[in-house]
């Protein structure tokens, strides 16, 4: 009886609303069952697994280089980051030294990917709240990045852009100049997004004080990335455990203070600017040298296990690999995906809010179902 007393059931008022797997606002196949008390969400159940493809099991039957293709398809919005995280984990297990040029280009690609992912986040988040023009403006910029990637590795979405030990290709001639031009364009466009949204009264009313979560609660729920930083927790893997060339880069990590949707929005908006800063440093300081390290023809890491995490646009993405030293396939491949952990916080975030805010909050935590379900 005491358990039921926590949530009084009003027969006439409580109704169950299903935001089904196919829905324009859930950004993928996510099902949320809302228990509504009148207009407010009393409780919710999140149902995932609609995009589960068995990537972790599949990897047990692929060799170490083939798994890079699988990692593309997890967070399909930020494939280069996922590639990077996986390759670095295997390099860590095999103690491979990645040449400096490769590390710089990897950093540039990771930051370009961050901008691309945030563009998609901004466009869809704004569109859910009603500002549909921002969607097209953000995608216009994302197109520029996709063009850069296409020039580099030939693909627009699933890049396969890293190899264990470095990069598959060197950057094409003139690519670095194009990247610098893109950075200039991007900086002015971020100003455009700010003009449209940041001080807009309607935007403020829709995002201020919506989904407030304190830093300690966010840490307890396992949140990561910009969603965590919006609540004031200064955790960024690029600063805390630098990888690629981040220890040589000079950049700031934006931190929010209230932990509401508006702060998470501001954090990601500032990350646009910091990313262009890092990219400029990466391109201008690009050293000469090989683009891939000394890697054996057949990749067979020694027996052992390791965990390595990087800061993908969504948050901290971690890879745990176990190698048995004998076969060319991993014994176990496990991904700690940031979207999965951030999604855990969603029921806590939407409790007490109106149905219209649920859509805003799903956008605010920035999930990709490919990563959640794997």
């Amino acid at each position: 009886m005491t358990v039921e007393a926590q949530r009084p059931m009003f027969d006439t008022n409580e109704m169950v609303l299903n935001m089904g797997p196919q829905h324009p606002s859930t950004h993928g196949v996510l099902r949320i069952v809302l228990h509504l008390d009148g207009e407010r969400v009393a409780d919710s159940d999140i149902v995932i697994g609609y995009l589960h493809r068995g990537i972790e099991k599949l990897s047990e039957n692929r060799d170490w280089t083939q798994i890079i293709l699988l990692t593309d398809r997890m967070d399909y919005v930020a494939a280069a980051s996922t590639n990077l995280g996986y390759c670095e984990t295997v390099e860590k297990l095999m103690s491979i030294e990645v040449p400096r040029r490769a590390r710089y280009v990897r950093t540039v690609l990771n930051e370009l990917q961050r901008i691309a992912s945030h563009c998609l986040w901004l466009g869809t988040h704004a569109m859910d709240i009603g500002a549909m023009t921002v969607f097209l403006y953000a995608f216009r910029e994302r197109e520029l990045i996709l063009d850069l990637f296409e020039e580099y590795c030939g693909a627009r979405l699933t890049y396969n852009s890293q190899r264990i030990g470095g990069l598959p290709l060197d950057i094409p001639p003139g690519w670095d100049r194009k990247v610098l031009e893109f950075c200039d364009i991007m900086d002015s466009k971020v100003g455009e997004y700010e003009t449209l949204l940041t001080h807009n009264r309607i935007w403020l009313e829709r995002t201020r004080d919506i989904g407030i979560i304190s830093g300690s609660e966010a840490v307890a729920l396992g949140m990561c990335g910009p969603a965590l930083r919006g609540s004031g927790v200064p955790r960024d893997v690029r600063k805390d455990e630098p990888y690629a060339a981040y220890d040589e880069m000079d950049f700031d990590v934006p931190i929010g203070d209230r932990g509401d949707t508006y702060d998470r929005y501001l954090v990601r908006l500032e990350e646009f600017r910091q990313s262009t800063r890092i990219i400029r440093q990466g391109i201008e300081g690009l050293p000469e040298g090989p683009f891939i390290g000394k890697v054996p023809r057949l990749i067979k890491p020694p027996a052992g296990e390791t965990y390595h995490a990087i800061e993908s646009p969504k948050g901290e993405i971690g890879f745990f690999i176990v190698s048995d030293g004998r076969s060319t396939n991993p014994y176990r491949f496990r991904v700690r995906s940031p979207s999965f952990c951030n999604l855990q916080a969603l029921p806590r975030l939407i409790r007490g809010h109106l149905v219209a805010d649920v859509v805003a909050l799903i956008g605010s935590i920035d999930i990709v179902l490919g990563e959640v379900d794997r």
Partner: protein
């Protein structure tokens, strides 16, 4: 005989045709304007640069299967779209497009009629538009569309109060309820009422946005994706009628705003003699241009602004707009008495 029957009938026929064509081309205009704001082109295929798109849309909707849900009330289901569109159309009977002009040797005023309670007529007919929305939701015979339609109609009724209060202050300023009289009053004072009553103008425009369910007040329409709105069960031409009614309402609000605040068919600075050459442009062209400017602003706002949540929308109407509107009436009355 001719004067009583033929001429008004002719005017009605011309006006109805013009309005219905405008309303269907508003759909194209909206898609084009929003597309251009968003760095894209909009419909381009049908006809040269997409000009024939509304005709294609109309044809498509007309040949769609006409489904009536089995358990729905057949009469009410059919009546609802009509009850939204008809009030929007009959408002045009009192909107003055121009003064008396010389047409084929007769002196004819460019409006169907000028009743002495014209402005009140417009407000009362607009209030009838609520029925179509309520009945549309009810006729769908299911809980969510009904609740959604009640929400949408509650929004309409709330903003009606604010808009009516604003119109009261305009009546005080103009001293008459007749639409032609208001335009004449602007000509006599030499100033568009936009400059005399800027607060009323802003209030009327915001209230007009909410009345026509346009962004940023279109949450009832947007939440359809989630809970199902009042026109879930409608398909084909009936569905089209709901949206044509929305565009017709937009044109009504724009025309009324033009008449009340922008001098109707008057040229800019009607009292200044030096600008007399502007009289070469016919009066109705001025009227249509001003209305078009308002419509463009409607579309511009839709492309730019995010959407208000329903409770924020209602709070804005009741706690902000209505007090300001009432205050405006009081101030207008005081100023009118003192001057």
């Amino acid at each position: 005989m001719v004067d009583i029957f033929v001429i008004p009938l002719l005017k009605i026929v011309i006006l109805l045709n013009a309005i219905l064509v405008s309303v269907s081309y508003m759909t194209l205009l909206e898609r084009k304007v929003i597309a251009w704001v968003q760095s894209r082109l909009g419909p381009m295929r049908v006809g040269p640069r997409g000009v024939l798109q509304p005709i294609a849309d109309a044809l498509k909707l007309m040949i769609k299967e006409d489904i009536t849900p089995a358990k729905a009330d057949k009469w009410v289901f059919t009546l609802a779209p009509m009850m939204v569109l008809v009030p929007a159309l009959i408002v045009f009977a009192v909107i003055p497009f121009g003064p008396e002009v010389n047409l084929f040797g007769r002196l004819e005023p460019l409006y169907i009629t000028d009743i002495n309670v014209g402005l009140l007529y417009i407000v009362s007919v607009a209030s009838l538009g609520v029925y179509g929305i309520i009945l549309g939701g009810w006729a769908s015979n299911s809980k969510y569309p009904l609740l959604a339609s009640l929400r949408a109609s509650a929004q309409l009724i709330s903003y009606e109060v604010a808009v009516t209060m604003t119109l009261v202050s305009m009546i005080v300023t103009a001293g008459t309820l007749s639409m032609v009289g208001i335009v004449e009053a602007q000509r006599e004072s030499g100033l568009w009422f936009l400059f005399v009553q800027p607060v009323a103008f802003v209030l009327f425009f915001i209230g007009g946005l909410a009345e026509t369910n346009r962004a940023p007040f279109d949450m009832p329409e947007a939440e359809q994706e989630l809970t199902g709105g009042f026109h879930t069960e409608y398909s084909g031409m009936r569905f089209a009628l709901f949206f044509l009614a929305e565009y017709a309402n937009m044109i009504v609000i724009s025309s009324v705003a033009t008449t009340l605040f922008m001098g109707g068919w008057l040229r800019p600075f009607p009292a200044v003699e030096a600008l007399g050459f502007l009289d070469l442009i016919p009066s109705w062209i001025w009227f249509i241009s001003k209305t078009f400017a308002f419509l463009y602003v409607f579309l511009w706002i839709r492309a730019t602004l995010p959407r208000y949540r329903y409770d924020q929308l209602m709070r804005l109407g009741w706690k902000v707009l209505i007090p300001i509107a009432i205050g405006n009436v009081v101030v207008s009355g005081v100023v009118k008495v003192l001057l």
